[in-house]
């Protein structure tokens, strides 16, 4: 058959069969037992030409409401942020995206150095000693943090705040089940982790306490107050953090975190219906040899020139097999590159400015909604999100917003029984005053 991805010609095929000493390709499959041999062709859709396939798929894509057409007020862990256009130009260089894991350092210095830079940027933002080369996403990174903590402390209980993203908590529970680790949830108080409850729950069998900063409701947890409770019981202080917020907030590393994880999606990575995003995993030096996944280290070559290699591989599955610190192999390298480019573009000043813009615009939304008579569930500082009480079902509200070209917030009642009738509204730097005002106006209209 002729296909643009298949260079084999009948002459090639004949010459190759002759070399092998067989008559037909079928002979190469003679070792498949007759009973399991698949005959004929798959019953799947026939091949389409390039033009007709792009036409079909662009029509399919057009069925979706996207955030470049609609003004999005939906966050809950995935955000519509400024994506420097340069990001896509860099990650479209096929020397990066068509390469595999840099196991041959002499011809992979580009990728290795880019990852080394990513590790440095994440360490800088989080204030941690070191970071790995990436994880699948924020949720599985948090789950891996739980496993690390249980292994390190030889304890079998994890305390997770209910203000941690509900889906991340669910992933933590799934992983913990495999490891027979108990997971208990710390209740809420005024949209924050209830510290009195934490004090009562924590004990000598607690491996880790997991706090999200800023939390799922957009509230900024006071890590300073939490840290002594956690370390007082000998547990590992595990913080899940939106790295973009750390442009303005004191980094977890400066507030005593042992492990900081999260998702770098806010830095230049498209929402993409939830993935692929880019988990990150940062720790203190004491935990360096327990980190899951790949690490890039600096070294020198035979001539003393600086170079980079994958290092401390004795932790990993391809060396240690069943004794590895994790089973992770493929990670999110290309998205780590995307995040690196975005972090580089924003740089020292931009990361601060973008974080402050997010806080500022979120508070503008809060002020306008309050002015319009809406009740905001929690007070204090908000990052990206506010919880708004609504008399209308959120689904109905969002349908009305959609008609006005807006994607509404997240229905909190879906994850929290006590917050039925509350909507989690997100505002990023992308939202203009005009869009925010229109949102408030439509909220008012639906409640009139």
């Amino acid at each position: 058959m002729k296909h643009r991805y298949l260079p084999m010609t009948p002459q090639d095929e004949k010459a190759m069969l002759d070399t092998i000493g067989i008559e037909s390709i079928d002979e190469l499959f003679a070792d498949i037992p007759e009973k399991v041999r698949f005959k004929g062709e798959y019953k799947i859709k026939p091949a389409k030409s390039e033009s007709s396939l792009t036409k079909e798929l662009s029509q399919l894509a057009a069925k979706n409401a996207d955030s470049s057409t609609y003004a999005s007020f939906l966050g809950a862990g995935v955000y519509d942020h400024y994506k420097p256009i340069i990001v896509d130009h860099v990650i479209s260089r096929s020397e990066f995206y068509t390469a595999y894991t840099p196991y041959q350092p002499e011809i992979s210095q580009g990728e290795l150095q880019a990852i080394f830079e990513f590790q440095t940027m994440i360490s800088e933002l989080t204030g941690m000693d070191l970071a790995n080369s990436s994880m699948y996403d924020g949720g599985t990174a948090l789950a891996e943090a739980g496993m690390l903590a249980a292994g390190h402390t030889r304890r079998k209980k994890i305390l997770v705040s209910r203000a941690v993203h509900p889906e991340s908590r669910a992933v933590v529970r799934s992983y913990a089940l495999g490891q027979s680790i108990a997971v208990e949830e710390i209740p809420l108080k005024d949209g924050h982790t209830d510290l009195e409850a934490l004090k009562n729950m924590i004990d000598e069998d607690t491996a880790a306490v997991m706090i999200q900063y800023p939390n799922f409701f957009g509230q900024v947890e006071n890590l300073k107050e939490i840290e002594p409770i956690v370390h007082g019981a000998g547990a590992l202080f595990t913080v899940s953090s939106n790295p973009l917020a750390l442009g303005a907030l004191t980094p977890p590393g400066k507030l005593g975190a042992d492990i900081t994880v999260g998702d770098a999606q806010p830095f230049g990575i498209p929402e993409a219906f939830g993935g692929p995003h880019c988990g990150y995993f940062a720790v203190t030096k004491a935990l360096m040899r327990k980190v899951p996944g790949r690490l890039v280290g600096e070294t020198t070559d035979e001539d003393g020139r600086r170079g980079f290699v994958l290092t401390l591989q004795a932790r990993e599955q391809h060396i240690r097999r069943d004794k590895a610190t994790s089973n992770i192999c493929s990670n999110q390298a290309l998205n780590a590159l995307a995040a690196s480019v975005a972090m580089t573009a924003l740089g020292k000043e931009g990361t601060k400015e973008i974080a402050i813009q997010n806080i500022t615009k979120t508070h503008y939304m809060k002020k306008q909604l309050k002015k319009a008579g809406f009740e905001i569930a929690f007070d204090g500082a908000h990052f990206n999100e506010i919880v708004v009480k609504t008399a209308k079902p959120v689904k109905e509200l969002n349908a009305a917003l959609l008609k006005k070209g807006m994607i509404g917030g997240y229905d909190l009642g879906l994850s929290y029984d006590e917050f039925t009738g509350h909507v989690l509204v997100a505002v990023t730097e992308q939202r203009t005053k005009e869009e925010i005002d229109a949102f408030v106006q439509e909220m008012e209209a639906t409640h009139a």
Binding site: V36, K43, L57, I86, F96, E106, G110, L334, A381, K433
Partner: protein, 489 residues
């Protein structure tokens, strides 16, 4: 490749330069000190680069030139299926209706994305012969763990709590035993026989009522088809265990044998291998899992269902193993894989496997006179040579791999699988032409000659790369995992 070292981006920084263009702040400014408790406002900015947009583009362009991808040249890295990554995939994944949609939008606003996911699942069901597929796992190892958790849930639902062991062949990928550990199982190794296949007698010896599952790659990592697969399935099923298919090598059997028909109960696929989602320098991947009817109740949440032409996510799954990942998997990679499958069609996928296997056998026979071939029979999509003969002359497989760099090739996978001494695992894939294969074969033959006549040139390789062999011991002994400005000054 450029020989000059590329400075770190941090070393190019100059105070006052910017590389961004943020939206205008069109709302009143506020004072953070009025909002945040003391100590939570960042005092010292993260020390990130201060560079212009051109600085950034030149930096990463320079780095890209110091990197080898499939588009740069032949990449016969065994077990990784480094085939061509079609450009249409990249375009389609960037359509705004796929790239810029939020996972928590109302389902009525993302029906197109859900339709694509559903249709991809349908295609993968037919390709694997399984009853249901989930697209949630982010990569192969994640799929392995997901599959094993489902097997565990199945046994436990049957009141069977003593199945603590997962059997893996000695030739298995490292992720298999690692995933078993993460899922809470103990790993038992089953030996290979002199033909490179699972030793059935040893398998019979290790199975028992504590067997949860056998994890198998077929063809195995030697590129050989496990001919006695039905006997193995019977042995495992007889003791109540489940058979797990590691789909890393699916490129070898598309349209020739389906895991479901071979007796497998759970299958994971690597969409970034067989189905051309690019490898991205190590990821992101996508590792969908297929199951048979017995295991369907345990699929991770949510399950995508179609009812009256409307797609919904079903969360009401009381026996589910729960969530394995936030949201619905690596959708962007799944879009690429779907685009590929639709570009190939049934006859295309069949040709893919046939040409991948033909290419591998051709190379194997051409190289056989020059290297040791431990298992002399038709291979599937890859084959494993041994550098034993060259080792006797003082040249190791590692040296030959490094010498290949001088010819502009990415070397094969080396020292794997573990049951071949000085192994070189070669997987050409179907997208490479005979001319490319012949040129690589010539290079390998030349290296074999050099080993006999001029071994130093191989032992001292590479000679043409931007950097020479790196000191890995130093990297591990005194790890430097990030840049510190202060130490550099």
């Amino acid at each position: 490749m450029h020989k000059d070292n590329q400075p770190l981006i941090f070393e190019m920084t100059k105070e006052g330069r910017v590389g961004y263009s943020l939206p205008e702040l069109d709302v009143p400014e506020i004072d953070l000190a009025d909002l945040l408790p003391e100590g939570l406002i960042r005092v010292e900015s993260a020390d990130l680069p201060e560079v212009s947009e051109l600085d950034i583009m030149r930096h990463y362009t320079a780095l890209s030139k110091r990197n080898h991808g499939v588009d740069s040249g032949f990449y016969p890295l065994g077990s990784c299926t480094m085939k061509y990554n079609p450009k249409i995939n990249e375009s389609v994944a960037r359509y705004s209706g796929f790239a810029n949609i939020h996972p928590l939008q109302d389902e009525s606003t993302v029906q197109g994305a859900m339709e694509l996911m559903y249709d991809l699942q349908e295609h993968l069901k037919e390709i694997t012969g399984m009853d249901e597929v989930t697209l949630q796992p982010a990569a192969g190892a994640h799929g392995e763990w997901t599959g094993l958790m489902m097997i565990r849930a199945f046994h436990e639902a049957n009141g069977d709590f003593n199945r603590t062991k997962v059997i893996v062949p000695d030739s298995a990928h490292g992720t298999n035993p690692a995933s078993a550990t993460v899922a809470g199982f103990e790993t038992v190794t089953v030996k290979s026989n002199e033909h490179g296949l699972v030793d059935l007698e040893d398998l019979k010896r290790v199975v028992g009522d504590d067997t949860a599952a056998l994890m198998l790659t077929n063809p195995n990592t030697l590129g050989l088809f496990e001919e006695q697969i039905l006997e193995m399935a019977a042995i495992i099923h007889e003791v109540g265990g489940k058979l797990y298919y590691d789909g890393a090598n699916l490129n070898a059997v598309m349209s020739k044998a389906r895991p479901g028909d071979m007796g497998f109960d759970v299958v994971h696929l690597n969409l970034h291998k067989t189905f051309t989602g690019p490898h991205g320098g190590g990821g992101p991947g996508s590792g969908p899992v297929g199951v048979n009817k017995d295991l369907m109740p345990y699929l991770p949440k949510p399950v995508l269902v179609k009812k009256d032409d409307v797609f919904t996510f079903d969360y009401d799954r009381p026996q589910s193993i729960g969530r394995v990942k936030p949201f619905y998997g690596n959708f962007g990679i799944n879009v690429r894989a779907y685009t590929y499958i639709r570009s190939m069609g049934p006859d295309g996928l069949k040709a893919v496997t046939e040409y991948a296997v033909l290419n591998a056998n051709y190379m194997m026979r051409k190289l056989q006179p020059h290297f040791d071939l431990p298992y002399d029979r038709h291979c599937k999509h890859e084959f494993v040579l041994s550098g034993r003969r060259q080792k006797k002359l003082g040249v190791r497989t590692l040296d030959m791999a490094k010498r290949l760099l001088d010819f502009g090739y990415h070397p094969p996978t080396i020292y794997f699988p573990l049951n071949v001494e000085e192994g070189m695992m070669i997987e050409p894939t179907e997208t490479e032409s005979k001319e490319t294969l012949d040129a690589f074969i010539d290079a390998m033959i030349q290296i074999a000659k050099e080993v006999e006549e001029n071994p130093e040139i191989v032992q001292d390789a590479p000679h043409t790369t931007v950097i020479k062999r790196l000191d890995e011991t130093k990297a591990a002994r005194k790890p430097v995992l990030r840049y510190y400005k202060d130490q550099a000054e």
